[in-house]
Subunit: 326 residues, 2 copies
């Protein structure tokens, strides 16, 4: 596939979202904000009202983040007609349910019904692009474009599977960036990509702390938010550790200390594996501490918090570097 | 020890910081901002100029966070005289080098030289209060008050060892909160407390991703910052997962899915243990990617970023709850 066959980010005007659930509707809000025409396809016609509600709920955050001049919810269309959804699409974002066989079949169908120069990105949370493209004719334009929920708020998009789709990965990166995403390209595919794996590593340690009676989950959440995470949100953990050494020349010695502490009981032992009972106790404790009614408040806090943090970090980088880049 | 013997938070006017390194000087800046009299003790006289420089560097962030009306760097005093440093202290924050035997001896000396109703909190990063108080006469007022670097910026203070010092833990919590900290009390002591253990769990997964050639550390830092951490900084990981289920009633099932993914290769295998060579490759990659000259820029970004995030979250909570509390 030659460079000229792939539309540049700037040439993408119409995006098709396959699947109108939480992630698909979240992507629709994100692409809409960037001033694009968006078509959302779902087999279930009742998803149209869910899509409209999601867009309406997202609007305050989208306005706060900044809308493209031509952006409008009226440019988001819903359809249950597969071929019509893909007609004229310049980019496809697939967000169907996580079922590997169904996804492989769906992606082969998208591939067969889409112009050959169009990138097909899957929102999948852990499947490998190498598997997802296995039954497609033009696998070299199929990759993972994994967002964090909700896609219109959290800036990260992870691109995986680029080793089999180099040009498509470069084009997808440019496109996502043009819509305001923070893009990270994996050099080699791995289950869970980066972000999810980090979440599971943290969850495992949280479960261990809970199982040992160290603190309840509400306290652990507060400790992580007000401690490590507030620094990580600014720069990630390796950069944070680099500031832990008084002098950069002592950093090698500082890292030896980290290694020693990791090995001397400052982490859940390798033998610790949460069982089904502990997982359900975890679910119960979260549910009873937050409460069903607490979900709406938490979502509002998340929306205002994440939008605000993005604004803070963008202003900080502009101030320090005179640009929006890191 | 009766309730009346312990000064309430409001009665604490003079804080003594034992140790004038990065953490001790950072605490001095924090307590100074709260409008307290602060004495910093260190055996090395040259630490006085380091303290003055640290305070001067911290001032823009302290002003942005908001200074108590009576706060002034002129109320921070430095001394190399141990007894004089502790004379009249209402609260002692110990931040000496992490060496267990030296700390035990130092804390016994502090205990012997301090009025019996004064809480002695150690900034230690992993030692247990149960060990630290082992040679003290009045161990029930000795506990861990562990900050995150720098203490004047990152709000978390972890209180550990409270099972042997219930009243002191309650008083220390009230005092730290009165100075603007986010306090988390551990119900049971554990090496590394909560925040550090979470950091090591993340570091282990980061090392695995690096060792597998999935991405370089710069990309991993960006993925964590712009993905999981931006949500965690708002509410912690368990609350984030609670928002991942479309409906709170489906949350138990959602947690089963997390468990399955943790167990099916979405995390470094239990057999993975970073060796010394990998740790040094890690240190080298961070050092060469950030660069020695990059440390100053990163520190500036951290200061502006963390102060800004604290402001965003405080305003968000006031807006949602009409109060500053979570």
């Amino acid at each position: 596939m030659s460079r000229s066959e792939i539309p540049s980010a700037g040439k993408i005007a119409k995006v098709t979202c396959i699947g109108g659930g939480v992630i698909g509707a979240g992507w629709a809000a994100h692409f809409m904000r960037a001033g694009l025409d968006v078509v959302v396809y779902d087999t279930a016609a009742e998803r149209e009202s869910y899509l409209r509600e999601s867009l309406a709920k997202a609007m305050p955050a989208l306005i706060e983040l900044g809308m493209a001049p031509s952006a409008s919810p009226s440019r988001v269309r819903f359809t249950t007609n597969f071929e019509e959804a893909l007609d004229g699409a310049n980019f496809v974002q697939e967000s169907a349910t996580e079922n590997i066989d169904a996804k492989i079949a769906l992606i082969a169908r998208i591939d067969a019904n889409t112009a050959p120069d169009v990138v097909i990105a899957s929102s999948s949370s852990g499947f490998l692009a190498a598997h997802l493209r296995s039954r497609a004719q033009r696998g070299e334009r199929i990759l993972i474009g994994h967002p964090f929920n909700p896609p219109f708020l959290v800036p990260l998009v992870e691109i995986a599977g680029g080793e089999g789709a180099r040009q498509a990965a470069a084009d997808a990166s440019a496109f996502y960036r043009s819509t305001g995403c923070e893009v990270v390209e994996l050099e080699r595919e791995i289950d869970g990509y980066i972000g999810n794996r980090i979440q599971y590593a943290v969850l495992r340690e949280v479960l261990y702390l809970m199982s040992q009676g160290v603190a309840d989950l509400e306290a652990i959440d507060r400790a992580i938010a007000a401690g490590p995470a507030i620094r990580w949100a600014v720069m990630g953990p390796s950069s944070v550790f680099f500031l832990g050494a008084r002098d950069p020349s002592l950093y090698g010695k500082f890292v030896e200390g980290l290694d020693r502490e990791m090995k001397s009981g400052y982490m859940a032992p390798a033998s610790f594996q949460p069982d089904a009972e502990l997982m359900q106790a975890y679910a119960e404790q979260v549910k009873s501490s937050i409460g069903v009614d607490g979900q709406a408040r938490l979502m509002a806090l998340r929306d205002v918090g994440v939008v605000g943090i993005r604004g803070v970090l963008q202003r900080a980088r502009v101030k320090l570097d005179g640009s929006h880049s890191r």
